[in-house]
């Protein structure tokens, strides 16, 4: 049984997202400007839950073609073939190249799906008003936020491959449509993580008077 926590919102204080200054809004106003850095300051991120859901659903929708469409098209003398992310993982699996295969697998498959699932879990728990595991949920959010950008590794790998392997007619590599969708997944999950306000985790555990929905 956790005791009710105290939130800044309950005290009527707002913290600036840019410089961290605690300030109180003008009387009657919910949104103002930070007196120190003039950044827009509000109690909670605007439309956090709905926006996060929007981005998350878009990312999930884009994740399907990202895995089904080929990300790389390799053309050698006379023949050409396309590979999806999973085919790339299988292709890279060799006694000497297995670290690369593991990296691609982790960065392109495990992390994006983990992110989507984690954010969905956070949203659901916040919307249901769960008061348990606040610390762990926050740590989960921090992890999602931190690791999000690293999914771009696979996009960079494919982009560099396509840019460098242009040895016509021996061999040339082109990016496929799947790569665009995959980049969209990474960007959208990053936007989703950014639009989620982690303070909402604590709001359910704070006094029931102030609730931001």
């Amino acid at each position: 049984m956790s005791e009710p926590v105290l939130t800044a919102m309950q005290r009527g204080l707002q913290s600036c997202g840019a410089c961290g200054l605690l300030s109180s809004p003008a009387r009657g106003e919910g949104i103002g400007r930070c007196p120190r850095c003039d950044e827009v300051v509000a109690f909670r991120k605007r439309d956090s839950i709905s926006r996060t859901w929007a981005y998350l659903i878009a990312a999930a929708v884009c994740y399907v073609p990202a895995n089904l469409l080929p990300v790389l098209r390799t053309t050698t003398v006379g023949s050409s073939w396309s590979d999806t992310i999973l085919q790339g993982v299988v292709l890279l699996w060799s006694p000497t190249g297995w670290p690369l295969s593991i990296i691609v697998l982790v960065a392109s498959i495990i992390i994006p799906s983990a992110k989507i699932l984690s954010l969905a879990y956070l949203l659901v728990t916040v919307q249901r008003g769960s008061i348990r595991n606040n610390d762990q949920r926050l740590r989960l959010y921090r992890a999602v936020e931190f690791i999000g950008r690293w999914s771009m590794v696979d996009v960079f790998v494919d982009t560099f491959t396509a840019a460098l392997v242009q040895l016509q007619p021996l061999m040339s590599v082109e990016p496929g449509p799947g790569l665009v969708f995959f980049a969209a997944v990474v960007v959208l999950t990053m936007l989703a993580a950014d639009s989620f306000d982690p303070r909402l985790i604590w709001d359910a555990a704070s006094s029931n008077e102030v609730r931001y929905g």
Partner: protein, 526 residues
């Protein structure tokens, strides 16, 4: 403070909606753009890759192999291919598929590009309208690929170096190729299907002759060495040639007409013997070099050929004879009187012709065609010195008279000369010659000695002559008129003459007066 905010959907929901639409559109587009799926059964899928190998029609990729698996009985391979959209019209009865790999066949080396790019599946669209999705691949690419022309059938007992893809030449221009061949049901000959492309197919009429022009045609016959080729290409890979004899104005043949494939041009254009008659020739000499098919010539013009050569020994008399069966086509002599006139049969005209020729001394003789190979042929020629003969028309086969061969006579003379030379006592002559030479040698030696002596003698004689010369000079001075001695001699002779006269007178007197010897001269003389 309870915020009375109505949660209206914010614009951010546009993003997932767009993402969903894009995803759906991509999915739908891919489903719609998938063309028909076909299955091809083939013997081997070597060189094919699922997902990569393309199906090419005239250089355009119209499909991709998606799956390769073995058939249930493991004797075939079933290849599933995804065709490009809107190719349903291509997949009909008669559409053919084959694997394009590097291949050397006939005149072509095809598919070299596949050494680098990997094999692909070639395709030829059929004519029918009946759609079809399950195909059996051809093992070799079809030889004619969508060309306009006509097929003809050639019959030949010997395939030679012909194969599918062997070129067909018309006046040394390649106008088609052999498409396929198969052995006839009776096993005696082959039926070749040749394709002649347009517009050359209209030069094939019912009178056209086809022959094998494979490689270099070398014929070493009684006529000599005959070399015949079509082109450098046909030397390497063989070929079939055709030509229509000049002067024939027949319409072009229909497709799939049957022709005979001759072994070479000479055979193809050999004037067809219209009425060959069989005759027999008996030779009492060796017929070595006479082959079946050797020509029978009359003064150099071929009028027939040797049909059969057998040997016969008469065991009673141990006489050896070789009956040679020949087939004559006397009409080849160009004798115009063989136009049948009413009331006179062709047979009797022919008989009269031969009787007349034989009466004029026409005989058959074996002649050497080529000393190199020893091949012989039969020559009919006029032999005025030949013993008279008559043709017995009641025999079967009719015999024509012969004379011994030229070579035979030559052999006999040569043999005679050799025997003569053999009989000469060359050894003895040699020995005698040797002895004579030895004697001569000795004689020469002696002669040499004699010569030396003679030389000495000559020197002496020279001296003698010189003294004789001086003596003669002296003598000359003596007997020369006016010399002292001559005068004295003269005088002396005078005296002797006088004396002789006197003696004569005395003798005369004595004769008349023999008593004068005693009495002496008497008074008379006083």
């Amino acid at each position: 403070m309870v915020s009375k905010r109505k949660t209206r959907p914010s614009l951010v929901w546009v993003i997932p909606i767009i993402a969903a639409m894009v995803g759906a559109w991509v999915a739908v587009a891919r489903i719609l753009s998938a063309g028909p799926e076909i299955r091809i059964t083939m013997e081997s899928a070597s060189g094919l890759d699922a997902g990569t190998t393309k199906i090419n029609y005239r250089g355009v990729a119209v499909g991709t192999v998606s799956k390769i698996r073995l058939s249930e009985d493991h004797h075939h391979v079933i290849v599933t291919a995804q065709m490009a959209p809107r190719t349903e019209g291509f997949l009909v009865e008669g559409t053919q598929f084959w694997i394009v790999r590097p291949r050397i066949s006939g005149a072509n080396v095809t598919g070299l590009g596949t050494l680098i790019s990997g094999a692909f599946i070639g395709m030829e669209i059929g004519d029918s309208k009946v759609p079809k999705r399950y195909f059996v691949a051809l093992e070799t690419p079809p030889v004619v690929n969508g060309q306009i022309g006509r097929f003809f059938v050639l019959k030949t007992p010997d395939l030679g170096s012909l194969d599918a893809g062997t070129p067909v030449f018309f006046r040394h221009l390649q106008v088609g190729q052999v498409a396929s061949y198969k052995l006839d049901a009776d096993g005696q000959s082959f039926s070749l299907r040749v394709f002649v492309k347009a517009p050359y197919d209209r030069f094939v009429t019912s009178n056209t002759r086809f022959w094998q022009s494979s490689g270099i045609n070398l014929q070493l016959t009684a006529a000599g060495l005959n070399v015949e080729t079509q082109s450098l290409l046909s030397i390497l890979i063989g070929g079939v040639a055709f030509e229509t004899p000049p002067g024939s104005t027949l319409p072009p043949s229909a497709a799939n007409d049957v022709f005979t494939l001759f072994a070479n041009r000479t055979d193809a254009f050999a004037p067809a013997a219209r009425n060959p008659q069989t005759y027999e020739l008996i030779f009492n000499e060796s017929v070595r070099g006479l082959e079946v098919g050797a020509p029978v010539e009359f003064r150099g013009i071929q009028i027939g050929e040797v049909a059969d050569v057998r040997a016969q020994i008469d065991l009673q008399t141990f006489k050896f004879s070789v009956p040679v069966t020949i087939r004559l086509d006397p009409e080849r002599l160009g004798v115009n009187l063989l136009k049948p006139r009413p009331g006179i049969s062709l047979v009797s005209i022919r008989r009269r012709l031969i009787d007349s020729l034989v009466a004029h001394g026409v005989r058959a003789q074996l002649q050497t065609g080529s000393l190199l190979t020893g091949s012989t042929f039969v020559e009919l020629d006029v032999f005025p010195d030949a013993p008279p003969a008559k043709v017995d028309w009641s025999q079967n086969p009719v015999r024509l008279p012969t004379v011994p061969g030229q070579l035979e006579a030559t052999e006999k003379s040569v043999n005679r000369i050799i025997k003569k030379i053999d009989r000469m006592p060359l050894e003895q002559i040699g020995n005698e010659l040797q002895k004579t030479l030895t004697d001569l040698d000795r004689t020469v030696v002696t002669a040499r000695g004699t010569l030396e002596t003679a030389q000495g003698t000559l020197t002496t004689a020279k001296g003698t002559l010189e003294s004789a010369h001086s003596t003669l000079d002296n003598a000359n001075s003596v007997v020369e008129p006016g010399s002292v001695q001559t005068q004295e001699l003269d005088h002396a002779l005078h005296e002797i003459t006088r004396a002789a006269r006197s003696v004569r007178v005395l003798a005369d007197y004595l004769e008349r007066h023999p008593e004068a010897l005693i009495r002496g001269k008497t008074g008379e003389a006083k």
